[in-house]
Symmetry: C2
Subunit: 424 residues, 2 copies
């Protein structure tokens, strides 16, 4: 990575965006076969050049302590033969997904004889800003190109060598399969200001996707002149209804909270109906405590769970991403719904109940990207939902909501076929 002067930097960003725009124009008409062949060839090339990848990765791992990365963070950065195989296989899986471009979403024949189609088309150019793990580089490139978009990748500096090696491999097999080489570009300058320059280029870039901490997302949302697909926090709620199967509830609470604590679809808040609280809270309290999870509860919760500490108001709005859970006893499903709509983050919210009507009320009235009925919040995920890989989980309501795969990277156009119709 180099550092450029201010003018050179702006020029570099503009040129990168223009190249992406040109590539996108070519991608619009590329066949599914060409894109899928490139995906499979990329997977093969990643396997074949595993040694070069591991070498590049070693440079990133060496530099990790200098970036202040913890051991756990450095481990997420690490490549090994199994992980490279995983990256390659993910690209092959994207190749197996149905072709999104050209899909006729709706069609009709108008009374005047015009045949009208609503056809799925690419968005154009995606600017993707992300952190750490090298596999995200390959996933993003695969999803964008499969959906007919060119992508400008701005990865974290921690994974710079690994990302560069992956992108070089993907670009290396592009031309042979008729894919414009600039369909995938990795920003090669380290300057922080580059992001701001790209965000100003709405004439050339159609969508910005920031994936990382809340600070990054807010900055991008504030500065961007193009639409932004936002992935804010996951303050996911679990509601254990009066008519819940308490054994099922226990399993779902433990899985939602503890199976992987640092991810956006892990549960952060537990609401328990007052009728079952005396039965349920002491046992789940003990289990959570055994798993090392701190309970921050309201008065009733603290009365039922000896290890709980008193929650403050802000605990109910917090995304802990760690071994803490806020707990509240609620008098009714309506109260639970109100609580979730007030404190939740519209990401994933679950109900455990055997009453189908209560479940439907909850599903209809909780304003969230994904409602889980009698299932773990951890299932809100592109892979689990059958979208293939995902480029993020949108907490917006506009354009796309929840896990975003290839379809969410597309838009549509109307095509009207007539034989001379004019308007009277």
């Amino acid at each position: 990575m180099t550092l450029l002067g201010e003018h050179g930097l702006q020029e570099y960003c503009l040129q990168t965006a223009r190249q992406a725009h040109c590539a996108a124009e070519a991608l619009v008409t590329l066949s599914a076969e060409a894109k899928n062949a490139w995906l499979r060839a990329s997977a093969q090339a990643l396997r074949a050049q595993a040694d070069a990848l591991l070498e590049a990765n070693a440079l990133d791992l060496e530099a990790a302590p200098g970036f202040g990365l913890s051991d756990a963070q450095a481990d997420r950065l690490r490549l090994n033969p199994e992980r490279i195989e995983g990256i390659a296989r993910a690209m092959e899986e994207v190749a197996l997904l149905p072709e999104p471009i050209g899909e006729v979403i709706e069609s009709s024949v108008r009374p005047n004889g015009i045949e009208l189609q609503k056809v799925r088309v690419p968005l154009g150019v995606v600017f993707f800003i992300y952190e750490s793990r090298p596999n995200v580089t390959a996933d993003a490139a695969a999803l964008c190109v499969k959906s007919g978009n060119a992508v400008i990748l701005r990865g974290g500096k921690e994974a710079a060598h690994s990302s560069r090696a992956i992108v070089d491999i993907l670009r290396g097999v592009a031309e042979a399969h008729g894919i414009p080489v600039d369909a995938v570009q990795l920003v090669s300058v380290a300057d922080r200001e580059a992001v701001g320059h790209f965000l100003a280029l709405s004439d050339w870039i159609d969508l910005a996707i920031p994936r990382g901490g809340e600070g990054l997302i807010r900055r991008v949302a504030d500065e961007a002149t193009m639409p932004v697909l936002k992935h804010f926090s996951g303050n996911c709620h679990l509601y254990v209804d009066a008519e819940a199967d308490l054994q099922m509830a226990q399993a779902i609470v433990m899985n939602s909270k503890c199976q992987r604590m640092g991810v956006c679809n892990a549960a952060e808040s537990l609401l328990v109906h007052a009728e079952v609280a005396p039965d349920f809270l002491p046992q789940i309290g003990e289990q959570l405590q055994q798993a090392g999870v701190e309970i921050r509860g309201d008065e009733q919760t603290c009365g039922l769970c000896p290890d709980a500490v008193a929650a403050r108001e802000e605990d109910y709005a917090a995304e802990f991403l760690g071994p803490v859970i806020s707990v509240r006893v609620v008098p009714s499903t309506e109260a639970a719904i109100k609580d979730i709509n007030t404190y939740g983050s519209k990401h994933t919210d679950a109900i455990i109940t055997n009453n189908a009507e209560t479940a439907e009320t909850f599903a209809n009235q909780v304003d969230t990207a994904a409602v889980m009925i009698n299932a773990s919040t951890r299932f809100n995920d592109g892979g689990e939902f059958g979208l293939g890989a995902e480029i993020g989980i949108s907490t917006d309501k506009f354009h796309a909501r929840g896990p975003c795969g290839i379809k969410e990277l597309t838009t549509y156009k109307y095509v009207a076929r007539g034989n001379g119709q004019v308007r009277g």
Copy 2:
């Protein structure tokens, strides 16, 4: 309309937005029957109270010269029994549209047995900022409520009395049909700053839709903290291919340009393939001249149309909205596509050709909301496309493109139904 102090104004806007948010929560679960009954009752009430409407409208017409409105603009403002009948009938037509909310857009059973549905839901609260014609007030209210959204209407001051009368009638029949009365609110303060206050309330308002001049749209896009559905200019292009039926081309050019010149789907630019230019341009030039349309052309055009004047570069990017058209002779379909993608505004672009392959190339490669093949650009319209009324025509690619009706005012949520699944 009143003027409030700065603090009072902010308070008023916040209260209006909160009321809308509450109404939206109630609308989520309203039945199609309730919404349609309200739409039909509103139509009947508009007819029954036609005299009151005409009285209110007379006040607006009286004030029109004071607002500097031309006779033509004042005429667009005018209500009469036929126009009131038109407004009422439009509400009844919205009642006949299929219910959008609750539609299962996609569904699947995951390998772990979870039943996954992608369900259409309302966006929430829509802030609609528009100008002049009173029927837009009723259309917007009808579309928003049918799609389960609450709407905050900020109409033009020119139509203040008419809009108020219409909204009072619509609100008057709300409660009787179980519709929250604040599902439809008209901003009752004249302060220009009110718009800025509303645009800051992303916690309560989910979407802003500005409909009016480019200045208004840019202001809203710049200030809004929520997503904006933008309707920028319509620099619509017509391309007459070498293999066009020239008689058909003539009819489509004249209709696209002249049937109604001041609207966004009127044509502003004509591209003619060099092979047919010597045959086509002299005759269409004469016809356009007879219709009072000025031709601004390139050198070849000026050579073939005696009345044409030389075009400047900016003429090709202009939306004239009046009796002017820019004309250029192009050497190929590829050149026409490039021209449209460079100078067009992604609104509506038409090709006239008998070559199906050329038509498909054009449809695939022109980046626009609506491609018309052998049909007038004037057909890009919600009514003509079968969407019922429209709240605008989006020139964005994100969320919605082209005419926006009730579906475009919705989003979706995922509902996952399990029986205790946890993630392994």
